[in-house]
Structures are given as structure tokens and as C-alpha cells.
């Protein structure tokens, strides 16, 4: 997968937001990874640690939270989360856990989000 490219995008967003807020150091970053993206959170954290070395995010704690897949079944109307057993890790094809229908709307779990950062900023005083 494209963990490296995604880690670069995450870091860019983090640095941009930190600069906007006059940070001199990034302390913590919380990232949400939807299960449908098939991105490997541990790999992303490792790459962020390496990529951030020469930036103000050097040494920051990177935390990954998983977003479960939520579907609405167009067959039986099931509306809810998929459990981890409902998905084959190699071919994460979402299907209705109740009736097995493949026609489902994926309502959640597709996104990669930089959710929150904690920064240290120099106050003007």
C-alpha cells in the first residue's frame, strides 16, 4: 500500500496547522484511519517518525485510532458497524453482516483524517 505517500500527506497537514498556530514544537498527533483504506497504522507511525526528524514534529507522539466500517444494507436495511470478523483482512470487501448482501452503502471507514494535534507554542510575552 501507499503508507509512505499517506504519511507525507499527514505530516504536511500537521506542519501546516502547527505553523498556522505559531507552534515551535509538535507534541502529539492523533490520526484516524478508516478500516476500508487498508492502511497499516504501525507502518504509518514508523514512517511519520522517520519523516518528521528534521521538522518541528520531531519526537512527537503519533497515535493512530481505527475507524470501523459502517454500512447500510440496500437489501435488508441493516445499518451499523462491521465487526472485525466480518471482513477478510486481505480482501476487505464490505458486505451486510446480516444478510450477506454485497450492495451496501459504506457510510464510514473510508477516510484518513488528521484529527488532533497538541503543540507547544511560544507565547508573545
Amino acid at each position: 500500500m501507499h503508507e509512505l505517500a499517506m504519511a507525507e500527506s499527514i505530516l504536511n497537514a500537521v506542519i501546516e496547522k502547527s505553523e498556522e498556530n505559531h507552534a515551535n514544537e509538535v507534541i502529539e498527533v492523533i490520526i484516524e484511519i478508516g478500516k476500508m483504506t487498508m492502511l497499516n497504522g504501525e507502518q504509518i507511525i514508523f514512517m511519520l517518525e522517520v519523516l518528521s526528524e528534521d521538522t518541528m514534529a520531531n519526537g512527537a507522539k503519533f497515535i493512530v485510532e481505527e475507524i470501523p466500517i459502517e454500512v447500510k444494507c440496500l437489501g435488508c436495511g441493516f445499518d451499523g458497524k462491521l465487526g472485525s470478523d466480518d471482513l477478510d483482512p486481505y480482501t476487505p470487501l464490505p458486505k451486510c453482516p446480516k444478510c450477506g448482501n454485497l450492495k451496501v452503502n459504506v457510510k464510514n471507514g473510508k477516510d484518513l483524517i488528521v484529527k488532533n494535534i497538541v503543540i507547544d507554542k511560544q507565547s508573545k510575552l
Partner: protein, 220 residues
């Protein structure tokens, strides 16, 4: 004085790509251009198919060729004297909307009717990256094995048109083409599946007709 601040960022990287893709679609619509994204396995025949389309389709064609080293595929298109922009994808496993948006800046939009985009040969990574094209054509071939579809369901669910190429060698590689068609239909019941041999010129007119039906439906 140091001060620690907790900042709610909510930067959605997936949606950021989609936003750019929507911008591309609008740009194509404004210029009356029909955009087609070609994705598929490595070596399945994406470049060969686009080469045939360039020679056979009515209307002017521009091509964006994403390739590990873009001079290879882009070079094959340039010999037709059409506008071609090559994108060096290097280690990247997919094109994203940002790359395509920049490539479009170098396209003479007033002079083309179709924009054909060849993605990097990969059946997994391009799934999540909308490039703003109007339709996605997934090109696979029998030589990847007749279990390709089952192994990569998401890309087939995202397809508007599926091409199964190299049917001329199906016997030699013992691939069951009927099974491949069935597997696609299970995942995406309404999608049109076309069997082609670019070597033996089988199925090409079906592909051209299918693309033009989509184009007409979009009123472009």
C-alpha cells in the same frame, strides 16, 4: 513562556483528494471533454488499448500517462502526434488527483474531446483515489490468472467498464474467461464486461461503443 495548545485539526486526506477530483470533473465538463481513467494489473494491456483507441475513435484525444518511468508509456503515445503528458510516478503505486490536476494544466483543453488517463499498473492502490474522470475502465488480462477478480474485489466494484484482455492466449495459460466474467458480475452486477484481444483485434469496437454510450449519457 511556553504554552501547550490542543488543536482540533479534522483534516481529511481522503476527502482532500476527492475535492481536487471534483474540480477536475468540473474543468472537463466546462471544456466538453469526456474523461476516462484506465486502471488495471501490470502489463494487462492498458497502453496497448489506449494506442488502439487513439487510432480508432472519432474525436481528438489527449493522454495522461502515469508510469513508473513516464517516458516508456508516454513515448508510445507521442508517436501518434497527440497531446501527451507523462507523469513519473516513481515509487508511487497510484495516481492521485493532485498529480492529474497539474498534468491537465499542460493539456490543450480547447482542442480535445477525450482525456484518457493511464494509471499505474496496480489493482489495489488506485481504488481510493478518484481522478475526476467520468468513468473508470478496469483492464485485466487472462495472463494474471483467472482468480484476479476474486482477489481484488474493490477495484471491480468501482469499475464502470471491465475489459478482460488477451483472450487469444486464454487456452495457453489455462484461464477460464467465463469464470472471470462471472466473478465480476457477482461484485458489480450492472457493469459491462468486454472480452478483448488487442493482438487479434477482437472486441475493440465493443469498447469504443461502450465508451461512447457513457459519453452520450453524460451529454458530453
Amino acid at each position: 513562556m511556553h504554552k501547550v495548545a490542543d488543536i482540533d485539526v479534522q483534516h481529511n486526506i481522503t476527502k482532500a483528494n476527492k475535492k481536487i477530483a471534483d474540480r477536475i470533473t468540473k474543468k472537463l465538463n466546462d471544456s466538453n471533454i469526456f474523461g476516462v481513467d484506465f486502471v488495471g494489473a501490470i502489463g494487462s494491456g492498458k497502453t496497448s488499448l489506449i494506442e488502439e483507441l487513439i487510432q480508432r475513435m472519432d474525436g481528438n484525444i489527449g493522454v495522461i500517462a502515469g508510469d513508473v518511468i513516464s517516458k516508456f508509456d508516454a513515448g508510445r503515445f507521442k508517436k501518434f502526434n497527440i497531446p501527451v503528458v507523462g507523469l513519473n510516478t516513481g515509487k508511487e503505486c497510484h495516481l492521485d488527483a493532485h498529480l492529474v490536476e497539474h498534468a491537465i494544466e499542460d493539456m490543450p483543453l480547447d482542442n480535445i474531446d477525450y482525456l484518457l488517463v493511464e494509471n499505474v499498473g496496480n489493482l489495489i492502490c488506485p481504488v481510493d483515489f478518484d481522478l475526476g474522470s467520468h468513468i473508470r475502465v478496469v483492464v485485466i488480462s487472462v495472463s494474471e490468472g483467472d482468480d484476479t477478480v476474486e482477489k481484488h474485489p474493490l477495484i471491480f466494484q468501482s469499475a464502470d467498464l471491465v475489459i478482460i484482455n488477451k483472450v487469444d492466449i486464454a487456452g495457453a495459460v489455462e484461464a477460464d474467461v467465463g469464470k472471470m466474467v462471472n466473478d465480476v458480475k457477482v461484485l458489480n452486477p450492472d457493469v459491462e464486461v468486454i472480452k478483448t484481444s488487442l493482438k487479434k483485434e477482437i472486441g475493440l469496437s465493443n469498447v469504443i461503443n461502450a465508451i461512447d454510450r457513457f459519453k452520450k449519457r453524460m451529454d458530453l
